[in-house]
Each structure stands twice: as structure tokens, then as C-alpha cells.
Symmetry: C2
Subunit: 232 residues, 2 copies
Amino acid sequence: MTERIKPHLWFTLYTLMKLGASKTPIRISTTRLSNDIGGSQQSASRHLQVLEGNGLLVRAISSGGSKVTITPEGLAELDQVLQELKWHLEGKEAETIIFEGEVVSGLFEGAYYISKEGYQRQIRQKLGFEAFPGTLNVKIREEDYGRRQKLERGPSLRFEGFKDGERAFGAARAYPCLINDEEAGALVVAERSSHDYSVMEIISPQYLRRKMELADGDKIKVAFLPLRQSDV
Amino acid sequence: MTERIKPHLWFTLYTLMKLGASKTPIRISTTRLSNDIGGSQQSASRHLQVLEGNGLLVRAISSGGSKVTITPEGLAELDQVLQELKWHLEGKEAETIIFEGEVVSGLFEGAYYISKEGYQRQIRQKLGFEAFPGTLNVKIREEDYGRRQKLERGPSLRFEGFKDGERAFGAARAYPCLINDEEAGALVVAERSSHDYSVMEIISPQYLRRKMELADGDKIKVAFLPLRQSDV
DNA sequence: ATTACTAACTTACGAGTAG
DNA sequence: TCTACTCGTAAGTTAGTAA
């Protein structure tokens, strides 16, 4: 399960974001940072160590100030709070994120993974359907990679990893979606893989290629409904 | 100056918001709250005491669970973080907030206050202009009171109170704006007064009534440009 | 049931300082 | 300069308990 980050560490991460570490690496010394968090140099140093240990930021330490960048995991931590604040203070959810892509062929790996009972059980439980053993692969445009990144940073349903006999299967995240405004499904992304953003692997209770008469190259619309972390 | 709330207390406030205390009073026991903040009943109790002492929430304590509501000051504390997160993670500022109102006559009190050097000095310093000794009073529609409340919860420039001989002058907040897309100015609101939302008192370097040939009843547009707390 | 006190405990902090 | 160690102290938390 996601280990909750403590408030004082979250605040340091937030401070780093304010200093610009969310977009690009920033050069900052622990002394400088300590002013911004309102503490001592030693505290800043320790916070950076712990945050790095939790994978929320990466550092390139050198004399003359370290380079600090917030990782996608760190951004997710910040984004989660953003979504909650938006919901409660602005009274609206994050907007539906829509992608227009085209159907492509995959390597049929999806079928193998999905058919594992360890995943099927969790899909039933969290998505509420029996997944068809295969994925629909949707190629998206390069200019949409950023939006996909933002989507994946947001709230998701998480499937735990498990062992099946010899082999270990990793954890994954699912983002429920609607395909062509009619069929329910979910984008599935394996965790801990800085993956390729060009193709979305979508699971669904149906064999979508047949049900919707899809062929490679067909245009397809994938809509991700807003999901709050607290719904998860 | 605004006393910075500590991260662990901010987190408890945030948790209360998630439980719904931003909109309406919620009934919650310290035991229940302690689960949500991930601590003990005693900590929850203390946090509520401190937050109440800082004016960030109000309570009606009774056996069977207290009623808790976040105050406008508390919401401002949360909103400030929201604005920063939006800026950095979504790469955009809060939108410009626009009011369509009409010019009305005031009681000429504004002139008295503005002419005080204690305020003039701070206006020069923070707004960058010499204020005309008087205010333009703009009446807004009742359905816009909510938006005005939201505006005033957001970042502002703060004028400290001061003593001038005998009399003490209170602190005030200013929200820079643009009048009819051409003249710079600022909405000024006295602090610690749960004030009337119907009329905006606007200061400006110009005598706007003459410069723009305004008379009572004339329609006027007031646009508030986004302002981040870190700009303040 | 509640809230909140006091005292013991644990965590986080910061001064000093080394690498 | 930097980062990050040790270690004494301060702050925050929790257990026990009262009202």
C-alpha cells in the first residue's frame, strides 16, 4: 500500500516545487532551502535524504549546491493534494481527459498477464468486471504525451504484485476509461517502468476489436473520467 | 505578518476539509478524526484546540461529537496551497476574476483613510502608485458575492495597521485590479470585519470619476488579475 | 459517549563539527 | 563553500485518566 508521507516532509517537497523543482532540476543548497522551509540547514539536509530514500526526488550532489529534481512519484504526491483541494474549494473535479488515438496491434503479451488469476481477482474487485484476456492497443499522438503523464500522475486503482509459482508479477496501475463513449475499460500501466507513452494498453470486459469492429489504424476515442484519490 | 501555520496542523486542517468541513459544519469526534490524520485521539484534540486558537476553525463542543467548521481564514490557508500547486503542476495561474458592477456614491470615508501617511506609504511601496484620496465605490450583484468571497480568500497585498497620534488604524488587504480594461487600481478591504460584500471600495492613482467620466449608476468592469502568494 | 489534562515517550530539530 | 554526521534539546505524540 502507498505509504503516507509525513506532513513536514510533504511540506519540504512542496517547497521544492515552489522553487521550480517540478519542471527542471534546480540547483539549491541545504542552507538556501532551510530558509524556505523555515528550519535549519541540518533539517533541510535530512529531509532531502528521506525524500530521496522514498523515491520522491533525485539528487546530484556536488560541492557548490546539489541538483534536485522531483520524480513522477513526488509529483503524484503533490498532485493528489491538488486534486483534493480543487474538489473541495472549487467544487469541481478534474476535467475528463480525452485522447484521440488509433488502434494498433500489440505483441499479445497483454493476454498472458491478464489471464493470471492474481490480476483477474483484483480487476474484478476494483474495476468490477471480468477482463477479456487481451488488450486493445491505442497509439496516441506525441503532443499528448504530456497529458498522458499528467493522467498517470493522478489518482489510480492499484493492483498489487504477486507470485505465481516461480515467476513474480509486478504491481500495476489502472485508470478507468470509456472507449468511444460506449464501452467501459481501463488503461493499465505496469509500475516501476519508465515506460513508453506512445501506446495505451486498455483492458475491458469485452473483446473490443470484434464488438466495435475495429481494425488497425481506426480512429478511437478514450475518455478518462475524473477519479479522486479518496474514491480509490 | 501572517504567521505561517506548521505542516502538521495544516495537514489536520486539510483532513477536516476532506471530511467536508469547508462547506458546512461537520459532526466529528476526536477519535474519528485521529484515524483520518493517522494519529492518536489526543493529538486530534490538541490540533483542534490550536487551530481554533489561530482562528482557522470554529467548534461547538458537545458530548456526542463536536461540530467543526473551517473559517474563511482557514479556507484561505488551504486556498493558498491550492494556488501554488495549480501554478506549478498545471502551469497556469488562477483565472482572472471579473465583476460587472455599477458606480455608486460612498460616504467619503475612504478619502480620510487613504490620506493617512501610514497607508499612503504602504500603497506606494506595495502597489507602486500614489493613491488619489478617495475611493470609487462599485456595487456588485448579489450572485457575485460568492466569487468576491473567493477572491478575498486568495492572495492579497497586506497593509499593516499603525497608530497616528491618538487613533489606531487597522490592517487592510488590497487586491490589484484593472478598471474598464484601462485604469489600474486595487480593491481595499479592512481586515477583521465580516464586511458587506455588496460594495467594492477601489483605490487608484487617478480620480477615476473624472478621468473616465463616471456617474452614479454607470456600468463598470473590474478585473482582478491572478496574484500568487509568492509574488506578495 | 465525549474532550482534554498530565506525564512519559518518541520524533524532529539545530548547534557543533567533520569530510 | 558544500553535505551530513553526532548528540543534546525542544516539540509533538501517546498512554493513562479525569471530568
